[in-house]
């Protein structure tokens, strides 16, 4: 199954497929550790459809839904097996 990061629910993990963003955002994401093949986990979401709190490797990142849309992911089955890529 293929979807965008903004559609993941808190507690769900996924593998990054590819990142489709304009250059500045792509650079920032890559510097924060977002690369294809890496595993990430959505920890929580802020109230009122707020930003996501995402853990990737040992880094915690907050990202708006609109920007999370740029990240294409393959969700993992629902048990959270938090290993690092």
């Amino acid at each position: 199954m293929h979807m965008h990061l903004d559609a993941l629910k808190p507690g769900q993990s996924a593998i990054i497929d590819r990142i489709h963003a304009e250059q500045a955002l792509a650079q920032r994401l890559s510097a924060l550790g977002f690369r294809s093949g890496k595993q990430l986990e959505v920890i929580r979401q802020a109230a009122f459809n707020g930003p996501l709190h995402v853990r990737i490797g040992s880094t915690d990142v907050i990202i708006r839904l609109q920007d999370a849309k740029a990240i294409h992911v393959h969700p993992l089955s629902n048990q959270t097996e938090s290993t690092t890529a």
């Binding site: 963003a21 250059q23 500045a24 955002l25 650079q27 920032r28 994401l29 890559s30 510097a31 924060l32 550790g33 690369r35 920890i43 929580r44 979401q45 802020a46 109230a47 009122f48 459809n49 707020g50 930003p51 709190h53 853990r55 490797g57 040992s58 880094t59 915690d60 990142v61 907050i62 990202i63 708006r64 609109q66 920007d67 938090s82 290993t83 690092t84």
Partner: protein, 596 residues
């Protein structure tokens, strides 16, 4: 002289290390890009003096932010003998790329792995020797916070300086600063071979705190509650200290200064005692509270809680055309508007930056805090003091919201919001102390300069011409007050308060001192006089006006230099003055209409 550049990602403790190595005290914050001014220091390195330059924190050399641009520009325009790279051990898997980028430039470098303690707690172990071999670069683990490994790191740097003279010119570097994809692959290889990660990262403490503090519904109320408690703490501890200081200055005057200066001519005696001394001592009495305020602020800033506040507030900020970072800048503005304005450099989109800069001057800064503490103590019983102060902070937020909502159409932008959430950190007492002391020094320097000039001016205005009774309507000050009375009467501000407001335009630190000079009184006598002259409605109106109108000349100058636009500066000036008047007017007239 050898030049050594300190380079690292945001939130790696780079500023802490710089402070430790330089002995100076730079600001340390948990906010990416807070070190925007390039600081440098002379340090002793292997028996020679070397220049240590603190470059802005950056994620990689090829990024597009202002800070990344500054670093690239620096590396391709200035000769450097050695780069000290500082990385966060707990996040080594993604930070190592920076070291490889520097190595690819051919610059001699030493890699310092900071926050060893945090990495250990997370169960990460790093084989520094193996990493050094793989990288072909000296590697050393350190703790910038506690100082472990720092002397050894300096020794390593001195050795490297001796053994590896830099043969790369800035021009070559400029050429090499092209993207190199091979870096990534090699990074993964080295990480795989030298770093052991536990299967489940032990984030447990930060996770447990986050579960409560970032709770979807409880998070924001908890944040506001903790801010309120901090103010309550500052008030409870600070007020008695302030009274003690006031008493001390009072006694010094009556016991020592008055007898000593009795032989001087009346006018000189008046200028020195009622002008300079009264003005200065009234302000100086606030130093303990300011010290407390900055100690608390620096603790919050270094703790990692501010980035959480950005997370909690982002949805609301988005509705105003801003983002969570703007909220953090406003909170920093509570300390001083000037660094908060400079901090907006982390925003790449100009409209968003301008909109944020338009709202920051409405943050209730420490200089205004001091005016409010003074007025509140006079006009409100202690049981209500913290509540009144808190409501002023809420008004500060409200004006920020109004401003952003009204202007977001004019400054529309679409900037990505992606931000790192650092783990919670507990700043060491020394770190808090250094930071707090730096701020206090800054406050005192500003305050002294402005206050001495300001109170002398106020004294002259209230005592000239010599034929007039001091501070009466016949003095120059009286004329100025009459001139403004059509505008200021409807908001309940009398001549005395008007003079204070005019001088408050230069800097809010002057306001309290000039009130003391205007009334020619200090300590309890001054409080009684003000309490009998104005009621709480007038006092509140005065505080509202003080809160909203232009904070100080430094802020205006910073607005102009950061926006590079006089038009923007005038817009900010006119808007805040107009808003201040309208809100004071609404408050004053409705309170009176309700019979208060």
């Amino acid at each position: 002289m050898k030049r050594v550049a300190l380079l690292g990602m945001p939130n790696t403790g780079k500023s802490t290390l710089f402070n430790r190595l330089s002995g100076a005290s730079a600001r340390v914050g948990n906010w990416p890009g807070i070190t925007v001014d390039l600081m440098s220091a002379k340090i002793l390195l292997g028996g020679h003096i070397a220049e240590l330059v603190d470059l802005p924190g950056l994620y990689d050399l090829h990024g597009f932010s202002d800070d990344e641009h500054v670093v690239r520009h620096f590396l391709s325009h200035h000769a450097i003998d050695l780069v000290l790279i500082i990385l966060n051990s707990a996040q080594i898997d993604r930070q190592l790329s920076l070291a490889l980028q520097i190595r690819a430039l051919g610059l001699p470098a030493v890699l310092l792995l900071n926050m060893e303690d945090e990495a250990k707690r997370a169960g990460i172990t790093i084989d520094a020797q193996a990493m050094s071999k793989q990288l072909g670069m000296p590697v050393r683990t350190i703790s910038a916070k506690y100082g472990q490994g720092c002397p050894e790191a300096l020794q390593l740097a001195a050795q490297t300086l001796l053994q590896q003279p830099n043969l790369v010119t800035p021009e070559t570097i400029a050429g090499k600063l092209e993207m190199d994809n091979a870096i990534e692959q090699e990074m993964h290889q080295i990480i795989d071979r030298t770093v052991h990660f536990p299967l489940q990262l032990n984030h447990s403490l930060t996770d447990r705190l986050d579960k409560v503090l970032l709770h979807p519904w409880l998070g924001l109320p908890l944040f506001l509650l903790s801010v309120f408690m901090l103010f309550q703490f500052i008030f409870t501890v600070g007020a008695p200290l302030q009274e003690g200081m006031a008493w001390l200055f009072d006694s010094l005057r009556s016991e020592a200064l008055e007898p000593a200066l009795a032989s001087l001519p009346t006018w000189l005696n008046g200028l020195l005692l009622d002008g300079l001394y009264t003005g200065f001592s009234t302000v100086a009495a606030f130093v303990p509270i300011i010290v407390l305020f900055f100690l608390v602020m620096s603790m919050v800033e270094d703790s990692g809680y501010l980035s959480r506040a950005a997370f909690l507030m982002d949805t609301l900020m988005a509705k105003m055309g801003l983002d969570g970072r703007g909220f953090v800048m406003m909170l920093m503005g509570f300390g001083c508007n000037v660094p908060a304005l400079m901090g907006t450099r982390v925003m790449r989109s100009r409209p968003m930056r301008l909109l944020t800069m338009l709202t920051i001057p409405l943050s209730l800064c420490s200089a205004r805090l001091q005016v409010f503490l003074f007025i509140i103590a006079i006009l409100f019983p202690p049981s209500q003091a913290a509540l009144v102060l808190f409501s002023l902070y809420m008004v500060s937020f409200a004006t920020i919201f109004i401003t952003a909502i009204l202007f977001k159409g004019k400054f529309a932008s679409r900037e990505p919001f992606v931000l790192e959430l650092p783990p919670y950190r507990f700043p060491t007492p020394q770190q808090i102390w250094m930071r707090g002391w730096q701020e206090v020094k800054h406050f005192l320097a500003r305050a002294t300069k402005f206050i001495v000039i300001g109170v002398v001016m106020v004294w002259l205005l209230t005592h000239l011409p010599t034929t007039a009774v001091p501070a009466s309507p016949e003095t120059w000050a009286g004329s100025i007050g009459r001139f403004f009375s059509p505008v200021l009467d409807p908001i309940g501000i009398d001549t005395e308060l008007a003079i204070a407001l005019i001088f408050g335009f230069v800097a809010k630190e002057i306001v309290v001192g000039s009130l003391a000079v205007i009334y020619g009184l200090q300590g309890d006598a001054l409080s009684h006089q003000i309490a009998s002259n104005i009621d709480w409605v007038q006092g509140m109106s005065f505080m509202l006006f003080t809160l909203i109108y232009t904070p100080c000349l430094s802020t205006i100058a910073t607005l102009k230099s950061e926006s590079k636009s006089s038009g923007f500066m005038w817009l900010s000036l006119a808007w805040s003055l107009g808003l201040a008047w309208v809100i004071s007017f609404l408050f004053y007239q409705s309170a009176r209409a309700l019979g208060y």
